[in-house]
Symmetry: C2
Subunit: 239 residues, 2 copies
Amino acid sequence: MCHRIPPGHPDNEPAGCLLCAIRSLSICDALDESELRELVRLSQRVRFGSKEPLFSEGDQSDASFNVSEGTVRLYKLLPDGRRQIIGFALPGDFIGVATGIRYGLSADAVEPVRACRLPKEPFSRFIESKPRMLQRMNDFARNELVLAQNHMVSLGRRSAEEKIAAFLIGWRDRLERIGRSTKTIHLPMSRQDIADYLGLTVETVSRTLTRLERENTILIVPGGVRLINLGRVEALAVA
Amino acid sequence: MCHRIPPGHPDNEPAGCLLCAIRSLSICDALDESELRELVRLSQRVRFGSKEPLFSEGDQSDASFNVSEGTVRLYKLLPDGRRQIIGFALPGDFIGVATGIRYGLSADAVEPVRACRLPKEPFSRFIESKPRMLQRMNDFARNELVLAQNHMVSLGRRSAEEKIAAFLIGWRDRLERIGRSTKTIHLPMSRQDIADYLGLTVETVSRTLTRLERENTILIVPGGVRLINLGRVEALAVA
DNA sequence: CGAAGGATTGACGCTTCTCAAATAGGGTGG
DNA sequence: CCACCCTATTTGAGAAGCGTCAATCCTTCG
């Protein structure tokens, strides 16, 4: 539907922080009007087409990103190509903060993505004297840790069926928190992505989903699922 | 060897932040002398015996802790008792920061632990106007995320043998960074702990370790292991 | 309309789990 | 100091869940 976009194509719009639709979801909510005006000057609005990388593990870490639209896949690769998806970033999420001079993981767009690019140096100078912003970034990191911890429980201790259920419930909750419809849960990522997120194979994901559908627990629809027997899914998810 | 210690037994020593041996490893390194003096007044030195909980998932989150001695196990439980160990905390680590009013996971002492207890309210007031401290706490949270991400790769995409190797290398690196000997790697945690950390069973951990020993890759010694064929372990660990 | 990639389904195998029992080790009390 | 007990660890045999390989189907898009 939309034509190929060059890597990290800059929009011609300026970063419109003051009018930003997802500001209340993002770290920028900790800034006042004059600070936002300052941020406008040091940030850039960028777009990425499906599968296009925002950054890759090992790259020089030049910038972080505030996702404003679309879904981003964050992952690590083993030398032989095995992939573990660490998480998916949604609008409001703040990604690409590296500990060292290089990114510790890779990120690419699952579907077309818009984001604010925050170049490392200017941005770190910008925040260094803003305790409220630092607090908010701390809260965001803590929240990421909570997600990571639940993810570890799934990876280490849940069966394939429980993993899928926990994934669907967790994804639904995240969509809900950013104000998306949850009547039918939109799944922009592929079966392979779900498999690599849950430590399974595509085949197992596919089989498990169709089994859940045959049992009338879920309904598979194009681009997502509906939870028919919500209680059953939730029971599997906590287990 | 030592008698039973009541839960979270307070030492009679004051919190000696100025002389603290692990300050350079901890978040407190971001504080100057007068700030440390302030911290002394609002923190308490506490001890925990083996297996004693520092806090439990679902408890009201009253305080966080700076570990100064010993090893802490951080974990989550499923309703049926399955356990996933999220990580181990060592001297210098800052644990028990909750996002909400309740702890999101449980923590207990693997071996006798000393820590500084930082009551939530006074501590959050203490840091709110200290950007350097907030920065450092951010760095610590980021570092935890890096560990979590590597852990997820192990849980989701590595074989039992690779998990064990990656665990040994990762543990060795952490011991090294806090200045511990790595000639023989001290493992204070049980086989069951290692299993619950790696998403395996005790039997698989035991079998894998003895297989590695039979192949002359490692040597199992009381309380730890020695890496005989370091190259082999490292090769398994990256894979 | 046809090609290409994604998703599903099936048959079979293997790694890891489960259940069970033996062994070792550490702490306690006599 | 030694014997005993309790727990941790190791080892074995068999089962099962999930992975692998392969073929088919479906969808999307040129």
